[in-house]
Symmetry: C2
C-alpha cells in the first residue's frame, strides 16, 4: 500500500511507531501493536502500528510518523512511502515464556534487549518482560545474560593496554553520600584508571552528576570521556550523556510507575554499566539502615553474594562492602553544599565533614587492597597520605579542568542566598536524623535543579545539643521555596532528640 508521510512533530522517546488512519488500517487488517515495514525508496524500517480515529490526526492515505522514524527514513511530510505487513518480533514469544515462568536462555534475553534498544518493542510488551522478571524472579544465569546483553547493545569504553580499570558504585539511599566525588580523586591519585559515570538525582536531593556539575561540565559524550581519561586517568561524568547499556533506561521507564526494582534487574543494570566502561575491578558499597534502599543486614548480605556471583560470571572482580547508612553522611545536602564539602575535604580544610573523609578513605583503601596495590590493612594509610599531601586535591582539579571547569576556586561555589536556621527545640542527644525527611525538605527547597539549595547539618546522631542551638540551615535560591521547605520541616520534622 502506498501512503504519504505526515510529520507528527513529536518524538516517542524510543519505540518506532507509525500512525495510520483507521480506515487504511482496516483495509490492511492491521491492529494496534501489529508491525509493518515502511520503505522510502531503498531505506526501510520496521515499526509498530497505531491508528488514529480522526481524519484530523492522520487523514486517509497518509501515515503519521514520529521523530525517530522520520530520522531513520530521512523522510519529511509529503514523501511517498510503501508499507507491508511484517511478523511480530520473535522476542515477544520469549517475553510470553518469561511471564509463564520459564527461564530464558542467553540468546532469548539478548533478542529482547536488542529489540528494546532498536525501538522494536512497545512499552506494553516491555512491561510484561519486567512483570515476568518481577513475579518469577531471575536466575543468576538470566541476570548475567541480561547484563551482557545490555553491555553488548550500547556504547563501550575499551582499554587494551590498561590492565587495571576500577570503578565504584553505591546502591544509594543516603542523603549527602557524595563519596564517589571524594574517593575517585584519591584512587586516581594513586595511579589508577577510573572512568566514572554517574546518574542525576531521581528522588534524592542530589546525584553525583548534579553535584559534579557545580564544579565542571558533566554531559560528556563517549569521545570527550576518552579524551579526559587519556589526559588525567579519571572522570566523573553524567551517564545520561552517553549510551552505555541504553536498554537500562527503557526498562527503568516501565519499572518507575509501580516503583518496581527486581533484584536481578538491579544487579544486571549496575554491572552492565561497569562492564560498559571496561572496568575489571568494581567496589560496591551497600549502605544499610532505616530509610536507605536496603534496610536489613540480612538483605544486604544476600545482595552482596549476588553481586559477587554476577561479577564473577562477567569476569569483573567485584568486592562488596556493607556500610552504616542510617544517617546522612557529610554536612551539606544539595549539589553546591555537597560539592563544597567534597572540596573542603580534599583540601584538608578544617570545615570538612569528617564522616565523609572517613568514608572516602575507607573506600579508597578497599580499592587499594582488592587490587593488590596495598597489603591487607595498609590501604587506609596510603589513602590518608594521598589526601594529606594534597595529591588527591590536585587530581580533582585536573579532572575538573579536563572536563571543563565551572569554578576557579572552591570559594566560587554558590550557595543559595535565602536561608533560615533551624534551632533545637530542647536540650538532649540526637537519636535519629531521617534520610527521607531531610531529602524531602532539601528537594522542596529546590534541589537538585537549584544547585545552591539544600541543607547544612551542624550535628549528627549521638551529638549533644542545647535548646536553641543551631541544628541545621535550610538554603534556597528564592524566598518561596525557602518558606515552603520550612513548612515541610514543621510538618514532618525528621530529627529525634532525646532528653538526657
Amino acid at each position: 500500500m502506498k501512503l504519504v508521510v505526515k510529520d507528527m512533530a513529536i518524538a516517542t522517546g524510543g519505540v518506532l511507531i507509525a500512525t495510520l488512519n483507521q480506515h487504511d488500517a482496516a483495509l490492511l487488517d492491521l491492529h494496534p501493536a501489529d508491525r509493518i515495514r515502511i520503505a522510502r525508496g531503498k531505506i526501510e524500517t520496521i515499526v509498530v502500528v497505531d491508528y488514529a480515529k480522526s481524519e484530523r490526526a492522520v487523514p486517509r492515505g497518509h501515515i503519521g510518523l514520529f521523530d525517530e522514524v522520520l530520522q531513520k527514513l530521512h523522510a519529511t511530510t509529503g514523501d511517498p512511502v510503501d508499507i507491508w505487513m511484517e511478523k511480530k518480533p520473535e522476542s515477544i514469544n520469549h517475553i510470553k515464556h518469561k511471564l509463564d515462568g520459564r527461564e530464558l536462555t542467553s540468546s532469548e534475553i539478548h533478542a529482547i534487549i536488542k529489540d528494546v534498544v532498536d525501538g522494536k518493542l512497545t512499552d506494553i510488551e516491555l512491561t510484561y518482560y519486567v512483570a515476568g522478571n518481577y513475579t518469577h524472579g531471575m536466575s543468576m544465569r538470566e541476570t548475567v545474560a541480561l547484563a551482557r546483553a545490555m553491555i553488548d547493545t550500547g556504547d563501550r569504553l575499551k582499554f587494551n593496554r590498561r590492565k587495571l580499570v576500577v570503578d565504584k558504585h553505591c546502591i544509594g539511599g543516603v542523603a549527602g553520600n557524595r563519596t564517589t566525588m571524594a574517593a575517585v580523586p584519591i584512587v586516581a591519585a594513586a595511579g589508577f584508571f577510573i572512568p566514572k559515570t554517574s546518574s542525576r538525582a531521581i528522588t534524592s536531593p542530589a546525584g553525583t552528576a548534579d553535584t559534579m556539575e557545580v564544579l565542571a561540565n558533566v554531559a560528556l559524550d563517549i569521545h570527550q570521556i576518552k579524551r579526559v581519561l587519556k589526559k588525567v586517568g579519571a572522570c566523573i561524568t553524567w551517564g545520561g550523556a552517553v549510551s552505555l547499556a541504553p536498554a537500562d533506561d527503557a526498562i527503568i521507564n516501565v519499572e518507575h510507575p509501580l516503583s518496581l526494582d527486581p533484584e536481578g534487574q538491579l544487579l544486571a543494570s549496575i554491572m552492565a554499566k561497569k562492564g560498559s566502561v571496561g572496568s575489571n575491578y568494581v567496589l560496591i558499597d551497600i549502605p544499610v539502615g532505616k530509610g536507605t534502599k536496603i534496610e536489613s543486614r540480612k538483605a544486604a548480605l544476600h545482595l552482596k553474594q549476588q553481586f559477587e556471583k554476577t561479577g564473577k560470571a562477567l569476569k569483573i572482580k567485584t568486592h562488596v562492602i556493607i556500610t552504616e547508612g542510617s544517617e546522612p553522611i557529610g554536612n551539606g545536602i544539595g549539589p553546591a553544599l555537597e560539592a563544597r564539602d567534597v572540596m573542603w575535604m580534599l583540601k584538608n580544610d578544617p570545615r570538612q565533614p569528617y564522616s565523609l573523609r572517613r568514608k572516602a578513605i575507607r573506600l579508597a583503601a578497599e580499592v587499594f587492597e582488592m587490587t593488590g596495590k596495598c597489603k591487607k590493612g595498609q590501604g587506609e594509610k596510603l589513602a590518608e597520605q594521598l589526601l594529606h599531601s594534597g595529591k588527591a586535591y590536585k587530581k580533582m582539579w585536573d579532572i575538573i579542568i579536563a572536563q571543563g571547569a565551572k569554578i576557579k576556586s572552591t570559594q566560587d561555589i554558590k550557595i543559595g542566598k535565602y536561608m533560615i536556621n533551624i534551632m533545637s527545640p530542647k536540650s538532649g542527644v540526637i537519636r535519629h536524623i531521617d534520610n527521607l525527611c531531610i531529602s524531602k525538605i532539601a528537594r522542596v527547597a529546590g534541589c537538585p535543579k537549584d544547585h545552591g539549595a539544600g541543607i547544612y547539618l551542624y550535628h549528627h546522631v549521638g551529638d549533644a545539643v542545647r535548646r536553641g542551638e543551631k541544628l541545621f540551615t535550610i538554603y534556597a535560591e528564592n524566598q518561596e521555596r525557602l518558606e515552603y521547605a520550612l513548612e515541610v520541616w514543621k510538618e514532618i520534622c525528621g530529627v529525634v532528640i532525646n532528653s538526657r
Copy 2:
C-alpha cells in the same frame, strides 16, 4: 505554574496525557507517569505527565494536550492553564498488590476499573494489572467484582417491567458459526426479549456484527437500540457502537500484544456485557474441538462451572452447553456467505445448511427450557414450529427493518464476483476440515472487510467424495485476493481425506 495550551492534534484513544517541555517538567520535578491537575478557569482535570525532548513538539511555557484532554477542558491552542502536582491514583497501589500475588477486594477492583474508564491509568500500569491477573490467577470473588465494576462503569440497558431478558453467547473459534443470527429470531419469535450486541471479527473471517451488517445497520447507539427493542423485542447490533463495559476494550488492548486471555478476565468480560444489557437468563455455548478456543472437554467442563458460578454471583441465570466444534458449521464462511446461509435457513430454503439449522434449534430449545417456557425435552419442538411456520423468518425481517435494512430480499446479498472451485484430489472420506486453515484462506480472500469474500463448503466431515468433485469454492471481490487465497490453500491445505 502557568502554561499555554498547544493542541497536539491527535487522540490517545483513552488515557488523559499532557506533554510538557522537558525543562518545565524539570522545574516542577515532574517525571513521566507523574500526575498533574490542569485548570482552565473553573474546569479541571487530572492527567498523566509525559515530556517532550524537543522545543519543536512542545516549546517551553507550553503544554501539549491530546484530543481527550482538550475536550474535557474545552480548551484550544493558546488558552492559558494552571497546573499543580497531584498524587498518583490509589489504584496503582492495588495493581502493585495484585502483582505481588494478593487477592484484591471488590472496592480495590472497582477503583482500578473506574480509573481505566476515566483514562487515569497508563497502558504500562494497566499492563501490570493484567500481568498480575495472568500470573496469579483471579479468585471467583475477584472475577465477579471485575464483572460488576465493568458493568457499573459503562452504559446500561434497563428494563423495569420486562422480567425475562435473555442472551446467548458463543465462546467462538468455529468458522461459519453464525448461530446467533440463526437463533435470535427463533427466540424472539417465541415472545422473548433479546437485546443482542456482538463483536466484529478480530482473527476470524466474520464476526456476528460483520455478518449482520450485510443485511442491516449494526452501528446503533444506546438510544437506537432501545427504540429497536421497543418495536420488535430483539436486536443484533455491534457492541463497539455502544459503551457497554468499556473497560473491557482497554484491557483487551493490553492483552492483545501477548495474546493473553486470563480465564477470570474472559469470564468477567463476557458476563459484564450480558449484565450491561440487563440480561437475567444467559445461554453460553462452548464449542470444543481441534482448532477452537477450548480444545479439550475437560477444559470446557471447568469453564462451564466457572461460568455458572460467576452467573450465580451476578444473579444472572446462566446455562452452559458444550457443543461439537471441530469443523465449520454451515456451508458459507465470510459475511455475505454466512448471512445468506442464515436467511436460507430461516426461510426453509432447500439450500439451507442443516448443521446450522440443527444448532439453531438446539440453542433456541435450551433457552425455552432454561426459562421454563417449555418443559424439558419440549423445546426443540417449539423451535422447529417457529422456524417451519415462517414466524422466525418474519421476526428476522422485523429486526432488519427496525435496524435499517441494507437489502430488500435474500437475493440482494452480494457474493464476491471472482471465484475458483477447489476439487478433491482423490476419492475417499473427509476426515477433517481445519477451522484455522479455512479461516486463514477466507481472510486472505478479503474477509471480513470484503463482505462478499469467503468460502462455500460443499462437504463436511464424514462425507464421501470422488476425485475431481467440488470440495469448496473460494470467493473474492478482486482477482489479486483470489489468487493469493489460492496460493495459501495450496500451501496449507486443511482438508484431510482418507482413501476408503
